[in-house]
Symmetry: C2
Subunit: 260 residues, 2 copies
DNA sequence: TTTTATTTGTCCGTATGTATA
DNA sequence: GTATACATACGGACAAATAAA
Protein backbone atom coordinates (compact mmCIF):
# COMPACT_ATOMS: atom_id res chain seq x y z
CA UNK A 1 0.00 0.00 0.00
CA UNK A 2 1.32 3.39 -0.91
CA UNK A 3 1.57 6.41 1.32
CA UNK A 4 -1.54 8.57 1.49
CA UNK A 5 0.27 11.71 0.43
CA UNK A 6 1.95 10.51 -2.74
CA UNK A 7 -0.82 8.26 -3.98
CA UNK A 8 -1.29 8.47 -7.76
CA UNK A 9 -4.64 9.63 -8.90
CA UNK A 10 -5.84 7.02 -11.19
CA UNK A 11 -4.62 4.05 -9.24
CA UNK A 12 -3.12 1.50 -11.56
CA UNK A 13 -0.50 0.46 -9.06
CA UNK A 14 1.00 -2.90 -8.47
CA UNK A 15 -1.25 -3.33 -5.48
CA UNK A 16 -4.15 -3.96 -7.80
CA UNK A 17 -2.49 -6.99 -9.30
CA UNK A 18 -2.01 -8.64 -5.92
CA UNK A 19 -4.98 -10.78 -4.88
CA UNK A 20 -6.86 -9.27 -1.96
CA UNK A 21 -6.16 -12.17 0.36
CA UNK A 22 -2.43 -11.77 -0.13
CA UNK A 23 -2.44 -8.01 0.32
CA UNK A 24 -4.35 -8.38 3.55
CA UNK A 25 -1.71 -10.71 4.90
CA UNK A 26 1.35 -8.80 3.75
CA UNK A 27 1.95 -7.14 7.10
CA UNK A 28 -0.36 -9.28 9.18
CA UNK A 29 -2.64 -6.26 9.62
CA UNK A 30 -6.06 -5.89 8.10
CA UNK A 31 -6.34 -3.51 5.19
CA UNK A 32 -8.85 -1.18 6.83
CA UNK A 33 -6.61 -0.84 9.87
CA UNK A 34 -3.59 0.08 7.79
CA UNK A 35 -5.66 2.63 5.88
CA UNK A 36 -6.93 4.11 9.15
CA UNK A 37 -3.38 4.39 10.48
CA UNK A 38 -2.27 5.99 7.22
CA UNK A 39 -4.96 8.65 7.36
CA UNK A 40 -4.37 9.18 11.06
CA UNK A 41 -0.71 9.88 10.40
CA UNK A 42 -1.57 12.30 7.61
CA UNK A 43 -3.65 14.15 10.19
CA UNK A 44 -1.02 13.97 12.92
CA UNK A 45 1.64 15.10 10.47
CA UNK A 46 -0.31 18.13 9.38
CA UNK A 47 -1.00 17.05 5.80
CA UNK A 48 -4.67 17.14 6.75
CA UNK A 49 -5.12 20.02 9.20
CA UNK A 50 -8.13 20.36 11.52
CA UNK A 51 -11.25 21.28 9.61
CA UNK A 52 -9.90 19.92 6.34
CA UNK A 53 -12.23 17.85 4.21
CA UNK A 54 -11.05 14.36 3.40
CA UNK A 55 -11.35 13.13 -0.18
CA UNK A 56 -14.65 11.39 -0.82
CA UNK A 57 -14.97 7.72 -0.01
CA UNK A 58 -14.90 6.73 -3.67
CA UNK A 59 -11.79 8.77 -4.33
CA UNK A 60 -10.08 7.33 -1.24
CA UNK A 61 -11.00 3.85 -2.41
CA UNK A 62 -9.34 4.58 -5.75
CA UNK A 63 -6.23 6.03 -4.16
CA UNK A 64 -5.79 3.08 -1.82
CA UNK A 65 -6.92 0.65 -4.52
CA UNK A 66 -9.53 -0.93 -2.30
CA UNK A 67 -13.28 -1.19 -2.20
CA UNK A 68 -15.30 1.70 -0.85
CA UNK A 69 -16.50 -0.44 2.07
CA UNK A 70 -12.94 -1.01 3.18
CA UNK A 71 -12.40 2.73 3.28
CA UNK A 72 -15.65 3.08 5.21
CA UNK A 73 -14.45 0.58 7.79
CA UNK A 74 -11.29 2.63 8.25
CA UNK A 75 -13.22 5.89 8.54
CA UNK A 76 -15.56 4.28 11.07
CA UNK A 77 -12.58 3.48 13.28
CA UNK A 78 -11.35 7.06 13.04
CA UNK A 79 -14.82 8.41 13.77
CA UNK A 80 -15.01 6.19 16.83
CA UNK A 81 -11.82 7.77 18.14
CA UNK A 82 -13.15 11.26 17.44
CA UNK A 83 -10.42 11.97 14.89
CA UNK A 84 -12.74 12.65 11.98
CA UNK A 85 -16.41 13.51 11.67
CA UNK A 86 -18.65 12.42 8.77
CA UNK A 87 -21.54 14.58 7.62
CA UNK A 88 -23.94 13.00 5.21
CA UNK A 89 -24.25 14.94 1.98
CA UNK A 90 -21.23 17.08 2.80
CA UNK A 91 -18.19 14.99 3.43
CA UNK A 92 -15.80 13.80 6.11
CA UNK A 93 -13.79 16.35 8.05
CA UNK A 94 -10.79 16.36 10.33
CA UNK A 95 -11.76 17.14 13.92
CA UNK A 96 -9.68 19.56 15.91
CA UNK A 97 -7.63 17.63 18.46
CA UNK A 98 -9.14 17.76 21.92
CA UNK A 99 -7.51 20.16 24.31
CA UNK A 100 -5.83 18.19 27.09
CA UNK A 101 -7.22 19.58 30.30
CA UNK A 102 -5.18 18.36 33.27
CA UNK A 103 -6.94 17.77 36.58
CA UNK A 104 -4.47 18.63 39.32
CA UNK A 105 -4.37 20.29 42.72
CA UNK A 106 -3.70 23.54 40.91
CA UNK A 107 -6.22 23.67 38.14
CA UNK A 108 -6.49 27.10 36.52
CA UNK A 109 -8.43 27.43 33.30
CA UNK A 110 -6.42 30.33 31.95
CA UNK A 111 -3.09 28.66 32.68
CA UNK A 112 -4.15 25.43 31.01
CA UNK A 113 -5.50 27.06 27.88
CA UNK A 114 -2.65 29.55 27.67
CA UNK A 115 -0.06 26.82 28.09
CA UNK A 116 -1.66 25.01 25.14
CA UNK A 117 -0.92 28.07 23.01
CA UNK A 118 -4.56 29.02 22.63
CA UNK A 119 -6.12 32.41 23.23
CA UNK A 120 -7.96 32.42 26.56
CA UNK A 121 -11.46 33.85 26.47
CA UNK A 122 -14.39 33.92 28.75
CA UNK A 123 -17.13 36.07 30.04
CA UNK A 124 -19.55 36.35 32.90
CA UNK A 125 -22.95 35.28 31.64
CA UNK A 126 -24.82 36.09 34.78
CA UNK A 127 -24.61 36.26 38.52
CA UNK A 128 -26.85 36.29 41.54
CA UNK A 129 -26.94 35.95 45.28
CA UNK A 130 -29.10 32.98 46.12
CA UNK A 131 -29.70 30.40 48.81
CA UNK A 132 -27.48 27.34 48.63
CA UNK A 133 -29.28 24.18 47.64
CA UNK A 134 -28.59 20.96 49.51
CA UNK A 135 -25.70 19.90 47.30
CA UNK A 136 -23.87 23.24 47.19
CA UNK A 137 -24.28 23.65 50.94
CA UNK A 138 -22.80 20.21 51.54
CA UNK A 139 -19.78 20.93 49.36
CA UNK A 140 -19.09 24.28 50.99
CA UNK A 141 -19.92 22.97 54.48
CA UNK A 142 -22.58 25.64 54.88
CA UNK A 143 -26.08 25.31 56.22
CA UNK A 144 -28.76 24.72 53.63
CA UNK A 145 -30.17 27.99 52.29
CA UNK A 146 -27.10 29.93 53.40
CA UNK A 147 -26.52 32.82 50.99
CA UNK A 148 -24.04 32.09 48.18
CA UNK A 149 -22.81 34.12 45.24
CA UNK A 150 -23.40 32.38 41.97
CA UNK A 151 -21.27 33.15 38.91
CA UNK A 152 -22.26 31.74 35.52
CA UNK A 153 -19.19 31.64 33.29
CA UNK A 154 -18.56 30.75 29.70
CA UNK A 155 -14.94 29.95 28.94
CA UNK A 156 -13.38 29.63 25.53
CA UNK A 157 -10.14 28.92 23.71
CA UNK A 158 -9.43 30.74 20.47
CA UNK A 159 -12.99 32.04 20.59
CA UNK A 160 -14.51 28.54 20.72
CA UNK A 161 -16.55 27.71 23.84
CA UNK A 162 -14.99 24.94 25.90
CA UNK A 163 -17.15 24.91 28.98
CA UNK A 164 -20.07 26.59 30.64
CA UNK A 165 -19.92 26.49 34.36
CA UNK A 166 -21.47 27.79 37.52
CA UNK A 167 -19.29 28.70 40.49
CA UNK A 168 -20.70 29.22 43.96
CA UNK A 169 -18.90 31.09 46.75
CA UNK A 170 -20.10 31.77 50.30
CA UNK A 171 -21.66 35.23 50.19
CA UNK A 172 -20.66 35.91 53.80
CA UNK A 173 -16.98 35.58 53.00
CA UNK A 174 -17.06 36.99 49.47
CA UNK A 175 -19.57 39.83 49.37
CA UNK A 176 -19.88 41.54 46.02
CA UNK A 177 -17.95 38.71 44.36
CA UNK A 178 -19.78 39.18 41.07
CA UNK A 179 -18.63 42.78 40.70
CA UNK A 180 -15.04 41.86 41.54
CA UNK A 181 -15.09 39.01 39.06
CA UNK A 182 -16.58 41.20 36.35
CA UNK A 183 -13.77 43.68 36.87
CA UNK A 184 -10.92 41.15 36.97
CA UNK A 185 -12.34 38.35 34.82
CA UNK A 186 -10.44 35.77 36.84
CA UNK A 187 -11.29 33.57 39.78
CA UNK A 188 -7.68 33.73 40.92
CA UNK A 189 -7.75 37.53 41.01
CA UNK A 190 -11.17 37.49 42.66
CA UNK A 191 -9.79 35.38 45.49
CA UNK A 192 -6.63 37.51 45.67
CA UNK A 193 -8.84 40.56 46.17
CA UNK A 194 -10.17 38.87 49.29
CA UNK A 195 -6.67 38.15 50.51
CA UNK A 196 -6.39 34.53 49.41
CA UNK A 197 -2.93 33.91 48.02
CA UNK A 198 -3.38 30.32 46.99
CA UNK A 199 -6.03 27.69 46.65
CA UNK A 200 -6.21 24.09 45.51
CA UNK A 201 -8.61 21.61 43.99
CA UNK A 202 -9.52 18.83 46.40
CA UNK A 203 -12.07 16.67 44.75
CA UNK A 204 -13.34 16.38 41.22
CA UNK A 205 -16.36 14.35 40.15
CA UNK A 206 -16.64 13.58 36.46
CA UNK A 207 -19.59 12.18 34.61
CA UNK A 208 -21.22 12.73 31.24
CA UNK A 209 -24.52 13.92 29.87
CA UNK A 210 -26.21 14.88 26.64
CA UNK A 211 -26.36 18.49 25.44
CA UNK A 212 -29.74 20.09 26.02
CA UNK A 213 -31.03 23.00 23.95
CA UNK A 214 -29.52 25.39 26.48
CA UNK A 215 -26.13 23.69 26.34
CA UNK A 216 -26.26 23.61 22.56
CA UNK A 217 -26.82 27.35 22.42
CA UNK A 218 -24.21 28.35 24.99
CA UNK A 219 -21.48 25.88 24.03
CA UNK A 220 -22.18 25.97 20.30
CA UNK A 221 -22.51 22.23 19.93
CA UNK A 222 -25.24 20.22 18.24
CA UNK A 223 -28.15 18.94 20.29
CA UNK A 224 -27.45 15.50 21.67
CA UNK A 225 -23.66 15.83 21.61
CA UNK A 226 -21.80 14.50 24.66
CA UNK A 227 -20.78 16.74 27.52
CA UNK A 228 -18.43 16.15 30.42
CA UNK A 229 -19.96 17.23 33.71
CA UNK A 230 -17.24 18.22 36.15
CA UNK A 231 -18.06 19.01 39.78
CA UNK A 232 -15.24 20.28 41.93
CA UNK A 233 -14.42 21.93 45.21
CA UNK A 234 -11.51 24.32 45.80
CA UNK A 235 -10.11 24.93 49.26
CA UNK A 236 -7.56 27.26 50.85
CA UNK A 237 -4.31 26.07 52.39
CA UNK A 238 -6.17 25.16 55.59
CA UNK A 239 -8.51 23.00 53.52
CA UNK A 240 -11.46 25.29 54.14
CA UNK A 241 -13.82 25.20 51.14
CA UNK A 242 -13.73 28.45 49.20
CA UNK A 243 -15.79 27.71 46.13
CA UNK A 244 -17.45 24.92 44.25
CA UNK A 245 -18.05 24.61 40.54
CA UNK A 246 -20.28 22.61 38.24
CA UNK A 247 -18.95 22.88 34.71
CA UNK A 248 -20.24 21.44 31.45
CA UNK A 249 -17.46 20.77 28.93
CA UNK A 250 -17.99 20.11 25.24
CA UNK A 251 -16.55 16.59 25.15
CA UNK A 252 -15.77 16.94 21.46
CA UNK A 253 -13.25 19.64 22.31
CA UNK A 254 -11.76 18.58 25.63
CA UNK A 255 -10.11 15.51 27.13
CA UNK A 256 -9.57 15.58 30.87
CA UNK A 257 -6.16 14.22 31.82
CA UNK A 258 -5.40 12.78 35.23
CA UNK A 259 -1.75 12.21 36.08
CA UNK A 260 -1.31 9.85 38.98
CA UNK B 1 -43.75 23.82 53.15
CA UNK B 2 -44.48 20.39 54.54
CA UNK B 3 -42.27 17.36 54.30
CA UNK B 4 -42.67 15.24 51.22
CA UNK B 5 -43.35 12.09 53.18
CA UNK B 6 -46.13 13.29 55.44
CA UNK B 7 -47.84 15.55 52.94
CA UNK B 8 -51.65 15.35 53.20
CA UNK B 9 -53.38 14.11 50.15
CA UNK B 10 -55.95 16.62 49.34
CA UNK B 11 -53.91 19.70 50.09
CA UNK B 12 -55.96 22.25 51.97
CA UNK B 13 -53.06 23.32 54.15
CA UNK B 14 -52.18 26.68 55.49
CA UNK B 15 -49.62 27.06 52.73
CA UNK B 16 -52.42 27.69 50.28
CA UNK B 17 -53.60 30.77 52.11
CA UNK B 18 -50.19 32.44 51.88
CA UNK B 19 -49.69 34.43 48.68
CA UNK B 20 -47.19 32.74 46.39
CA UNK B 21 -44.75 35.66 46.34
CA UNK B 22 -44.55 35.59 50.14
CA UNK B 23 -44.11 31.86 50.31
CA UNK B 24 -41.30 32.09 47.78
CA UNK B 25 -39.48 34.58 49.93
CA UNK B 26 -40.13 32.96 53.27
CA UNK B 27 -36.78 31.23 53.36
CA UNK B 28 -35.16 33.29 50.63
CA UNK B 29 -35.21 30.21 48.37
CA UNK B 30 -37.30 29.80 45.28
CA UNK B 31 -40.20 27.42 45.58
CA UNK B 32 -39.04 25.06 42.86
CA UNK B 33 -35.63 24.80 44.47
CA UNK B 34 -37.11 23.93 47.86
CA UNK B 35 -39.30 21.31 46.22
CA UNK B 36 -36.31 19.88 44.40
CA UNK B 37 -34.34 19.72 47.63
CA UNK B 38 -37.29 18.09 49.36
CA UNK B 39 -37.60 15.36 46.74
CA UNK B 40 -33.84 14.92 46.65
CA UNK B 41 -33.80 14.30 50.37
CA UNK B 42 -36.65 11.82 50.09
CA UNK B 43 -34.48 9.96 47.62
CA UNK B 44 -31.30 10.28 49.68
CA UNK B 45 -33.19 9.16 52.78
CA UNK B 46 -34.57 6.07 51.14
CA UNK B 47 -38.23 7.04 51.11
CA UNK B 48 -37.99 6.88 47.34
CA UNK B 49 -35.60 4.04 46.50
CA UNK B 50 -33.85 3.67 43.12
CA UNK B 51 -36.29 2.63 40.43
CA UNK B 52 -39.28 3.97 42.33
CA UNK B 53 -41.86 5.93 40.40
CA UNK B 54 -42.52 9.45 41.61
CA UNK B 55 -46.11 10.61 41.96
CA UNK B 56 -47.43 12.26 38.82
CA UNK B 57 -46.72 15.95 38.29
CA UNK B 58 -50.31 16.91 39.00
CA UNK B 59 -50.37 14.94 42.22
CA UNK B 60 -47.04 16.45 43.29
CA UNK B 61 -48.41 19.91 42.53
CA UNK B 62 -51.37 19.20 44.78
CA UNK B 63 -49.21 17.83 47.59
CA UNK B 64 -46.88 20.82 47.55
CA UNK B 65 -49.80 23.18 46.90
CA UNK B 66 -48.09 24.76 43.92
CA UNK B 67 -48.69 24.96 40.22
CA UNK B 68 -47.72 22.00 38.09
CA UNK B 69 -45.12 24.09 36.29
CA UNK B 70 -43.35 24.75 39.58
CA UNK B 71 -43.10 21.02 40.11
CA UNK B 72 -41.84 20.65 36.56
CA UNK B 73 -39.11 23.19 37.20
CA UNK B 74 -38.02 21.19 40.24
CA UNK B 75 -38.07 17.90 38.33
CA UNK B 76 -36.08 19.50 35.52
CA UNK B 77 -33.36 20.41 37.99
CA UNK B 78 -33.28 16.86 39.34
CA UNK B 79 -33.22 15.43 35.82
CA UNK B 80 -30.33 17.71 34.96
CA UNK B 81 -28.37 16.27 37.88
CA UNK B 82 -29.21 12.73 36.84
CA UNK B 83 -31.16 12.06 40.03
CA UNK B 84 -34.45 11.23 38.33
CA UNK B 85 -35.38 10.25 34.80
CA UNK B 86 -38.64 11.26 33.11
CA UNK B 87 -40.20 8.99 30.51
CA UNK B 88 -42.95 10.49 28.43
CA UNK B 89 -46.20 8.64 28.83
CA UNK B 90 -44.88 6.53 31.73
CA UNK B 91 -43.77 8.66 34.60
CA UNK B 92 -40.73 9.92 36.45
CA UNK B 93 -38.38 7.44 38.10
CA UNK B 94 -35.59 7.56 40.62
CA UNK B 95 -32.21 6.83 39.07
CA UNK B 96 -29.78 4.58 40.86
CA UNK B 97 -26.99 6.66 42.37
CA UNK B 98 -23.83 6.65 40.34
CA UNK B 99 -21.02 4.46 41.59
CA UNK B 100 -18.07 6.63 42.59
CA UNK B 101 -15.10 5.31 40.67
CA UNK B 102 -11.85 6.78 42.03
CA UNK B 103 -8.98 7.39 39.63
CA UNK B 104 -5.75 6.80 41.53
CA UNK B 105 -2.31 5.34 41.02
CA UNK B 106 -3.73 2.04 42.18
CA UNK B 107 -6.96 1.64 40.27
CA UNK B 108 -8.42 -1.87 40.52
CA UNK B 109 -11.95 -2.43 39.30
CA UNK B 110 -12.74 -5.27 41.67
CA UNK B 111 -11.44 -3.37 44.72
CA UNK B 112 -13.47 -0.29 43.84
CA UNK B 113 -16.72 -2.12 43.22
CA UNK B 114 -16.24 -4.44 46.16
CA UNK B 115 -15.48 -1.56 48.49
CA UNK B 116 -18.75 0.04 47.42
CA UNK B 117 -20.53 -3.05 48.72
CA UNK B 118 -21.59 -4.21 45.28
CA UNK B 119 -21.12 -7.66 43.78
CA UNK B 120 -18.23 -7.66 41.33
CA UNK B 121 -18.93 -9.28 38.00
CA UNK B 122 -17.22 -9.44 34.70
CA UNK B 123 -16.37 -11.69 31.87
CA UNK B 124 -14.03 -11.99 28.96
CA UNK B 125 -16.00 -11.16 25.85
CA UNK B 126 -13.23 -11.92 23.45
CA UNK B 127 -9.53 -11.92 22.88
CA UNK B 128 -7.06 -11.96 20.04
CA UNK B 129 -3.46 -11.48 19.13
CA UNK B 130 -3.26 -8.62 16.70
CA UNK B 131 -0.90 -6.00 15.39
CA UNK B 132 -0.77 -2.81 17.44
CA UNK B 133 -2.26 0.21 15.76
CA UNK B 134 -0.45 3.53 15.89
CA UNK B 135 -2.08 4.66 19.13
CA UNK B 136 -1.64 1.44 21.10
CA UNK B 137 1.98 1.15 19.94
CA UNK B 138 2.68 4.70 21.11
CA UNK B 139 1.20 4.06 24.54
CA UNK B 140 3.11 0.83 25.05
CA UNK B 141 6.28 2.22 23.43
CA UNK B 142 6.26 -0.57 20.89
CA UNK B 143 6.83 -0.40 17.17
CA UNK B 144 3.71 -0.08 15.07
CA UNK B 145 2.28 -3.47 14.12
CA UNK B 146 4.12 -5.17 16.97
CA UNK B 147 2.03 -8.10 18.20
CA UNK B 148 -0.23 -7.34 21.15
CA UNK B 149 -2.74 -9.41 23.08
CA UNK B 150 -6.16 -7.86 23.12
CA UNK B 151 -8.67 -8.62 25.89
CA UNK B 152 -12.25 -7.43 25.56
CA UNK B 153 -13.83 -7.25 28.99
CA UNK B 154 -17.29 -6.47 30.28
CA UNK B 155 -17.38 -5.50 33.93
CA UNK B 156 -20.44 -5.23 36.09
CA UNK B 157 -21.63 -4.42 39.59
CA UNK B 158 -24.58 -6.33 41.02
CA UNK B 159 -25.07 -7.82 37.57
CA UNK B 160 -25.44 -4.43 35.87
CA UNK B 161 -22.82 -3.60 33.23
CA UNK B 162 -20.65 -0.64 34.21
CA UNK B 163 -18.05 -0.62 31.49
CA UNK B 164 -16.88 -2.39 28.39
CA UNK B 165 -13.21 -2.12 27.78
CA UNK B 166 -10.35 -3.35 25.70
CA UNK B 167 -6.97 -4.00 27.25
CA UNK B 168 -3.82 -4.46 25.18
CA UNK B 169 -0.62 -6.10 26.44
CA UNK B 170 2.63 -6.70 24.57
CA UNK B 171 2.40 -10.25 23.23
CA UNK B 172 6.16 -10.70 23.50
CA UNK B 173 6.11 -10.21 27.25
CA UNK B 174 2.71 -11.75 27.97
CA UNK B 175 2.27 -14.74 25.67
CA UNK B 176 -0.95 -16.61 26.18
CA UNK B 177 -2.34 -13.74 28.27
CA UNK B 178 -5.90 -14.45 27.18
CA UNK B 179 -5.84 -17.98 28.56
CA UNK B 180 -4.33 -16.82 31.84
CA UNK B 181 -6.94 -14.10 32.17
CA UNK B 182 -9.76 -16.50 31.38
CA UNK B 183 -8.54 -18.78 34.16
CA UNK B 184 -8.02 -16.09 36.78
CA UNK B 185 -10.57 -13.49 35.68
CA UNK B 186 -8.35 -10.72 36.97
CA UNK B 187 -5.76 -8.43 35.44
CA UNK B 188 -3.91 -8.33 38.74
CA UNK B 189 -3.63 -12.12 38.85
CA UNK B 190 -2.71 -12.18 35.17
CA UNK B 191 0.23 -9.88 35.83
CA UNK B 192 1.16 -11.82 38.97
CA UNK B 193 1.36 -14.96 36.86
CA UNK B 194 4.07 -13.23 34.83
CA UNK B 195 5.92 -12.24 37.97
CA UNK B 196 4.70 -8.68 38.30
CA UNK B 197 3.98 -7.93 41.93
CA UNK B 198 2.67 -4.42 41.56
CA UNK B 199 1.68 -1.97 38.91
CA UNK B 200 0.30 1.56 38.80
CA UNK B 201 -1.79 3.81 36.64
CA UNK B 202 0.24 6.65 35.15
CA UNK B 203 -2.02 8.59 32.88
CA UNK B 204 -5.74 8.64 32.36
CA UNK B 205 -7.49 10.46 29.54
CA UNK B 206 -11.20 11.04 29.97
CA UNK B 207 -13.66 12.19 27.38
CA UNK B 208 -17.26 11.41 26.47
CA UNK B 209 -19.17 9.96 23.57
CA UNK B 210 -22.62 8.78 22.58
CA UNK B 211 -23.62 5.13 22.84
CA UNK B 212 -23.62 3.35 19.50
CA UNK B 213 -25.74 0.29 18.79
CA UNK B 214 -22.85 -1.91 19.89
CA UNK B 215 -22.45 -0.01 23.15
CA UNK B 216 -26.17 -0.11 23.77
CA UNK B 217 -26.21 -3.88 23.43
CA UNK B 218 -23.14 -4.62 25.53
CA UNK B 219 -23.68 -2.03 28.27
CA UNK B 220 -27.47 -2.31 28.30
CA UNK B 221 -28.09 1.39 27.87
CA UNK B 222 -30.37 3.16 25.42
CA UNK B 223 -28.98 4.35 22.11
CA UNK B 224 -27.66 7.89 22.35
CA UNK B 225 -27.00 7.78 26.09
CA UNK B 226 -23.73 9.33 27.26
CA UNK B 227 -20.60 7.27 27.81
CA UNK B 228 -17.34 8.13 29.52
CA UNK B 229 -14.36 7.10 27.42
CA UNK B 230 -11.37 6.37 29.65
CA UNK B 231 -7.95 5.70 28.15
CA UNK B 232 -5.21 4.68 30.52
CA UNK B 233 -1.73 3.23 30.73
CA UNK B 234 -0.44 1.05 33.56
CA UNK B 235 3.26 0.66 34.24
CA UNK B 236 5.44 -1.42 36.51
CA UNK B 237 7.55 0.01 39.32
CA UNK B 238 10.26 0.95 36.80
CA UNK B 239 7.64 2.86 34.83
CA UNK B 240 7.78 0.43 31.92
CA UNK B 241 4.36 0.27 30.23
CA UNK B 242 2.67 -3.05 30.88
CA UNK B 243 -0.78 -2.57 29.47
CA UNK B 244 -3.12 0.03 28.09
CA UNK B 245 -6.88 0.14 28.25
CA UNK B 246 -9.70 1.91 26.47
CA UNK B 247 -12.87 1.56 28.47
CA UNK B 248 -16.41 2.79 27.80
CA UNK B 249 -18.37 3.50 30.99
CA UNK B 250 -22.13 3.98 31.15
CA UNK B 251 -22.11 7.57 32.42
CA UNK B 252 -25.58 7.11 33.91
CA UNK B 253 -24.11 4.58 36.34
CA UNK B 254 -20.62 5.88 37.11
CA UNK B 255 -18.98 9.08 38.28
CA UNK B 256 -15.21 9.21 38.08
CA UNK B 257 -13.67 10.77 41.17
CA UNK B 258 -10.24 12.40 41.17
CA UNK B 259 -8.74 13.22 44.54
CA UNK B 260 -5.91 15.71 44.30
C1' DT C 1 -38.88 26.73 -6.40
C1' DT C 2 -37.20 22.81 -8.75
C1' DT C 3 -33.63 20.05 -10.52
C1' DT C 4 -29.27 17.90 -10.50
C1' DA C 5 -24.94 16.30 -8.84
C1' DT C 6 -22.30 14.95 -4.90
C1' DT C 7 -21.59 12.62 -0.72
C1' DT C 8 -22.48 9.67 3.14
C1' DG C 9 -25.58 5.87 5.11
C1' DT C 10 -27.77 1.42 4.66
C1' DC C 11 -28.95 -2.68 2.63
C1' DC C 12 -28.47 -6.68 -0.38
C1' DG C 13 -25.20 -10.31 -1.85
C1' DT C 14 -20.61 -13.14 -2.72
C1' DA C 15 -16.12 -15.03 -1.61
C1' DT C 16 -12.21 -16.19 1.31
C1' DG C 17 -9.19 -16.84 5.15
C1' DT C 18 -9.08 -17.77 10.32
C1' DA C 19 -10.39 -19.56 14.59
C1' DT C 20 -13.15 -22.63 17.29
C1' DA C 21 -15.73 -26.63 18.64
C1' DG D 1 -10.40 -33.79 9.36
C1' DT D 2 -15.12 -31.39 9.47
C1' DA D 3 -18.39 -28.20 10.38
C1' DT D 4 -19.47 -23.80 12.05
C1' DA D 5 -19.00 -19.13 13.11
C1' DC D 6 -16.66 -14.87 12.41
C1' DA D 7 -13.87 -11.16 10.37
C1' DT D 8 -12.35 -9.30 6.18
C1' DA D 9 -12.83 -7.64 1.49
C1' DC D 10 -15.34 -6.79 -2.66
C1' DG D 11 -19.42 -5.53 -5.76
C1' DG D 12 -23.68 -3.32 -6.49
C1' DA D 13 -28.01 -0.61 -5.60
C1' DC D 14 -30.62 2.78 -3.48
C1' DA D 15 -31.93 6.15 0.31
C1' DA D 16 -31.13 10.52 2.52
C1' DA D 17 -28.92 14.83 3.16
C1' DT D 18 -26.63 18.67 1.18
C1' DA D 19 -25.24 22.19 -2.04
C1' DA D 20 -25.17 24.35 -6.29
C1' DA D 21 -27.25 25.30 -10.78
Amino acid sequence: MMKFADMPRPATSAALRVPARDRALLAGVSLWRRIADEIEQSIAGGTLPPGAQLPGEIELAQRFAVNRHTVRRALAALTEQGIVRAERGRGTFVEAPRLSYPIRRRTRFSEIVGHAGRAVGGRLIGSAVEAADAEVARRLTLETAAPVVRLDLLREADGVPLCAGTTWLPAARFPDAARIYAASNSITRLLAYFGIRDYARTQTHITAAIATATDAASLQVALGRPLLIVDSVDVNLDRVPLLTTRARFAADRVALVVET
